[in-house]
Amino acid sequence: MKRLVIVLVAVVVVAAAGLAVTRSLRPHLYAGTVLQSPQPAPEFTLPAHTGAEVSPADHRGDIVLLYFGYTHCPDVCPLTLSSVAKALDQIGDDAERVHLMMITVDPERDTLEVLGDYMGHFDESFLGLSGDPDEIARIAALYGVFYRAGEGDESTGYVVDHTATLMAIDPTGALRVVYSPEIGADALAPDLKELLG
């Protein structure tokens, strides 16, 4: 009887260890779409709300999350930015190695000051980038991002249709993973951990 118990305990221990090893060997399943042939992320430099000129290259060794949005967007942009902020909360100290940059697709209304208030509301580390409309259009095209302003003016208000994907530039500077704007924090956090290695 005693021998049987020992054998059973041994079986359970071996099975648990095997399961743990299998799990650790299993490749990470990304919640976003992984680019199969990652290319270097197109370079750019734009003014951020902090007053600094910023570029993804400033953060080699870390992750840059790049998003094109605008502050008059009340539904989808807050959804995505809020998810990123919560994902950063989940990964603890590693959050210092994740840098979110939102380039405005509405440079007419989104001054750096407006962007600063908006981004800081979600997370103090988030950067709002604006600049010359032609330069923003050029950068957007490099990333395959498209946008168009709807009818209306500042008094009536208007919306801007835009590619709303969240793009992850990995520590090597390659554009690696693309996320739906509705990615949740719980799905994003493990990916960030994995990308940081």
Partner: protein
């Protein structure tokens, strides 16, 4: 004696039934029933001019959301965010999108929402704001929006 008692019971039941039917008829005549839950909005950034309100409405099948008003907003519209040709778009929702064909209408991030424009003041976590929604059949319904960071 027993017979009288039975008749009396039957009569009482019949009256009760009549009252129930009458109340039900009256309710139907006044418009359908509605229950609205999970009424919330995100806290808004200090300079934001727009916000979105969300809720889940259980109404009569085919009832339609026709309007929303809130003292927190200079103007409100019923909008829908949706992906079109790879672009995230936001437009006034059309009649079909605002109709609860199966009796449920869900307003949620990335979809239908009450677009609150010209915010009177920033929406602060923990606060509440009033919202009145109007359904075609259920009529006006007063709601309280919880400001929550979800």
């Amino acid at each position: 004696m027993n017979k009288t008692s039975t008749m009396s019971k039957t009569s009482t039941m019949s009256k009760t039934l009549t009252v129930i039917v009458a109340v039900a008829t009256l309710a139907a005549g006044c418009g359908g029933g509605a229950s609205i839950d999970d009424v919330w909005a995100r806290p808004s950034p200090p300079t934001a001019e727009n916000a979105a309100f969300y809720f889940t409405a259980t109404v009569d099948e085919g009832d339609r959301l026709v309007a929303a008003e809130s003292p927190a907003c200079g103007r409100t519209e019923l909008h829908i965010s949706q992906m079109q040709d790879g672009l995230m778009t936001m437009r006034p929702a059309d009649t079909g999108q605002l109709t609860a064909s199966d009796g449920t209408l869900v307003l949620e991030p990335g979809g239908l929402h009450v677009m609150c424009m010209q915010l009177v003041a920033p929406l602060v976590e923990g606060d509440e704001v009033d919202l009145t929604v109007t359904f075609e059949q259920a009529g006006e319904i007063d709601l309280t929006v919880s400001i929550e960071d979800r």
